[in-house]
Every structure is written in C-alpha cells, then in structure tokens.
Amino acid sequence: MSAAARLTRWIAPAIVLFWLAMAFIGPLISPYDPAVIQDADLFEAMSRAYWLGTDYFGRDMLSRIIAGTRYTVGIALVATMISVGSGLLLGLAASAIGGVFDMALSRFLDALISIPSKMFGLVVVAAFGSSMPVLILTLGIIYLPGCYRIVRSVAVNVAALDFVTVARARGEGTFYVMLREILPNMIGPVLADFGLRFIYVVLLLSSLSFLGLGVQPPEADWGSLVRENIGGLPYGAPAVIFPALAIASLTISVNLTIDGFFGPQERGH
C-alpha cells in the first residue's frame, strides 16, 4: 500500500469519528453561543475572532456548524438505524420463511423503490408538515426497501450453504436459523450497507432542509445553514460554503471508510 493510500485509510475514519464526537461534545467546545448575534458585520469573512466568518444575522458560523452537527448526524443516525434495522429484520424473515410471504413483501418493497426518494420526502412533508418524528420516520422508510433488497439477496445465498441445511436437519426452528446461523455470516455486508444508507440519508435530509422543508428554524442542521445564508452566495460569503463542505466531508469520509474496510461498493440508490 502506498503512503497516500495508508494516509487516506486513516484520515477518513478519523473525520467520521470527529463529527460523531462533535455531535456529543460540540456545545462544550463551541467558541460562541450559536444563537447570539455577535458584534460583527453580516456575512463577515474568515478572521481570527470568527474562524469561519459570520452568518446573515452576524452570528458565529463555526459555532452554528458545531451546533448543527447534532441535528444532521443525530437525525441521520437514528433514521439509518430504523431503515437498516427493519430492512434487516424483514430481509431475514423473507429468506427464512420464503414462499408467498417472501414474494409479496419483495413485490411491495420493489414497487416502493419506484418512487424517487426526494419525491417521497416532498409528498410526506406536504401532507404531514415537517417535524422531527415525521422527518426521521420518513427518511427511515424511504431507504428501507434498498436495505431489504441487499439483506435478502445476501441471506438467500447464506441460507443455501451447507451449515444452514445441517442446522435445519438438526431440527432447529426458523428463528434459530435466522439469528444464529444466517445473521452472524452477513455482518460485513450489513455494516457496509449501513454506511451507504447513512450517506443517502444525510444527503436527502440536507436537501430537504436546504429546500426549507426539513429541520425547521430556530433549530438548524447543516442543510438549513446553507439555506439561511444563500443570500450571501453572490458575495462569496464563507457562511454558504462551509456548512455544505461539512456535509461533503462527512459523506465522502463515510464513503472512503466503507471502501477501506469492506472493499468498493456498488452504488446508486
């Protein structure tokens, strides 16, 4: 492995851990109160006092990005757990039970995939309004079918292996086979899929917030921060670009981390 490859192998997981840590301890090390208007100009450039400049109200941008980490990373983590958790459960059940159950579930979830993810999000927000539970649940459901598909295809392959046949011949029940024989042998693909789903969720959440349909003010995730400050774009204000770069640093690092640990993944939602 070249020096550059070794470096990126550890830089990417480090950035992911950095953002995770920031979601927990961020408020402790934040230089200013993110909600307080500072004695500064609007859309100020980067300076020693305000490392990433100020926003459209003259608030410290670095503190606002740190505060936004909790929303972006937190919401995305919970939503990903919902979609991978239920995708895993349904996928395992489909492969273990098979028959009509497997066929009906697969057909239904495949049809759900034919609704583009942003469209699904927009329709739900139009119907229910945008609140934290609605947002988390919607993001979780949108990426459930994709996860189900992968879990099911891996599980079906594992289920065809000899040790599963042996377990069935021993007289083990469906649940035992599912949890003790099939599940432990597909941890790798599931973890890799968790990472990919997390990226999709972060991107969709950020897009919805950017459209003003995700996290609602006064709370703000990274996507909302881009939206709030978009008026500063024609002046080249750092307030627009840094929240967007924060999103990119997270998604790209998760991408590289998955590739580093599990090998290149098939992409495309």
Binding site: A111, M119, I230, G236, A244, A248, G268
Partner: protein, 318 residues
C-alpha cells in the same frame, strides 16, 4: 424484432403501468392519512367553522375515502388534477405554464451531458487502471457523494463571483439574443451536467469494461487485431445495450437534481412550483407534480430496460 422481444417489451410496459397505478395509490394514501381533519390542519386553529366546512367541501372530504380515491384517479387519468388550494387556479394550468421551462432545462442538460459522459466513460474504460482512469473515478465518486447544492454553490463562486462570466441567479424573461440564453442557462446546466455525468460515466465505464473482459475480445487480441479495431468493432457494439441503459437510468437523476437547481437559481420550472406547493401545503398541486415526476422517472427506467432488451444480441437472433 421477434416474438420473444415483443413479449418482453409488453411485459415491461404492463409492469410500468401497474407501477404507476401503485405510485398514484401510495401518493393518495400518504396525502390522505393525516389523522384528524386536513381542512382544520391547513387553515390553523383560528379558522372559522364556515371556512373549515368550505375547504372540506372543496377538498371533497365529505365523500367517503374510497369514492374520493376513485374520482381522484379518474380525474388524474383524464389530465384534470383539480384546483390549487392556494389561489384556486386549475393545477393543470399552473403546471402547463412551467412545464416548458423545465423540459428546456432538462433537454439542454441532456444534450450537453450525454456526449461528455460517454467520452469520459469510454476513454476511462480504454485506459483502465491509468492515472487518467483513477482521476475520472475519484472525480465521479466525489460528485456522487456530495449534495447537489454544493456543486451549484461552487459553480456560482467560481463562474459568477470570481470570474464574473455569468450572473449568480437565473432570470428568465429579460432575454435578448443567444448570448443571454447562454448566460441564464450556464450555471443551472453546468450543475445538472456534473450530477448526471458522474453517474453516467461510471456506468458507461463499467459496461465497456465488462465487454472488454469477454472471451471474444481475448480472441480478437490473440488474432492480433489492432487496439482501435478491438474497441470500435468488437467491444463497443456489444456494450451499446448496457450503455443505453446507463444513459436512460442516469437521466433519471435529473429529476432529483432539478429540484435543487431550480430552487437555488430561482428558475421558474415545475420543481420550483412543487417545492413552493409543499411549503404552502397545496395538496392537489403537490399530488399532480409528484405524479408527473414519478411518471417521468418510470418512463426513463422503463426506457433503460427496453434499451437493454432490444440491444441484447442474444435475444435478437433467437
């Protein structure tokens, strides 16, 4: 065209129509699931009972859900998605006034993006493993894994703020001559092109590499055929199906991208109309736009499937 292909095509078309019906049902269920009274929810707590009753009637909420579903589906199929809740105008008129703008944006993007993506994908596949291939690979991964509004923001910073070649915001309406058209469309088209090209180039590269690693290409190499002959005569014709599939499938990413691009550049298209509709919770408008987008998505995905079937030589010569 033989019977087998005909049957497969018919299957795909029937599947697409069934899926469209499923999507319409899903959209209807989601937009009618709200617990309690939609009319009350939309008007807020301070609304008078008269106003709530009026909106209930306008929404048809006094009719049982299943009848409402049938009548909605029927009207939708006839191209009449109802009236806007916000300004009372027919949704069809609102959409009609914006559809051309969106199609123009999508069309220009496709014209620009497809040749670039094919060029990048094919050259990367031919130079597989080279520095060039790795740069193209890293660039496409980069674009695929960042939000569209970052691509758009960076484009504005570079071309509008620093180089001052184009205005930061699109303004349709004050257009005099070709030069203005280019200035208005430059940034939206650039952003969308980046998004599409990344996806398309990756898939094109994969399709061609697949063909290049087949045994007939190995045979051609052993015969001593020239490199260009191997690529142009042997690999490319057999990769046309997968590449056409890649083009149609990647174009479906336009639908997601256009929502962000129309918003950030203030472009008067359907996506902007829909986002505004979601913000004001104008349900008939949102339903109609959602069906339009889902329909376009299904057409592209089905076209991708059909391209793969028609171009498959194994099916053609049976």
């Amino acid at each position: 065209m033989n019977a087998l292909i005909g049957r497969l095509l018919l299957q795909r078309l029937v599947a697409a129509i069934a899926t469209l019906w499923f999507v319409a049902t899903a959209v209807f269920i989601i937009t009618n699931l709200l617990p309690g009274d939609v009319a009350q929810e939309l008007l807020g707590q301070s609304a008078t009972p008269d106003a709530v009753a009026g909106l209930r009637k306008a929404l048809g909420l006094d009719v049982p859900p299943f009848e409402r579903y049938l009548s909605w589906l029927g009207h939708l199929a006839m191209g009449d998605p109802g009236k806007s809740l916000v300004n009372g105008m027919p949704v069809a008129t609102l959409i009609g006034s914006r559809l051309g703008n969106s199609l123009l944006l999508a069309g220009i993007t496709a014209l620009v993006a497809v040749p670039i993506a094919l060029l990048l994908g094919i050259t990367a596949a031919v130079a597989r493993g080279s520095l060039y291939d790795r740069i193209v690979g890293a660039g496409t991964i980069l674009v695929v894994s960042v939000p569209e509004f970052l691509v758009a923001s960076v484009a504005v910073l570079i071309f509008a703020v620093h180089l001052k070649w184009v205005p930061a915001l699109s303004q349709l309406g004050r257009i005099n001559g070709v030069w203005d058209v280019i200035r208005v469309f430059a940034l939206p088209v650039f952003t969308l092109t980046c998004v599409i090209v990344a996806q398309m180039a990756r898939m094109t590269r994969a399709a061609l590499i697949d063909a290049l690693s087949s045994s007939y290409v190995e045979m051609a190499i052993l015969k001593g055929a020239s490199r260009s002959r191997i690529i142009l005569q042997h690999a490319l014709p057999n990769a046309i199906g997968p590449i056409a599939n890649a083009i149609a499938f990647s174009l479906s990413f336009l639908l997601g991208g256009v929502i962000i691009v129309e918003t950030i550049f203030n472009y008067p298209g359907i996506a902007k109309l829909m986002v505004d509709g979601v913000a004001t919770r104008d349900l008939p408008l949102v339903q109609a736009c959602a069906m339009l987008f889902c329909g376009a998505y299904l057409i592209l995905v089905t076209a991708a499937d059909i391209a793969a079937i028609v171009a498959n030589p194994r099916l053609r010569h049976q």
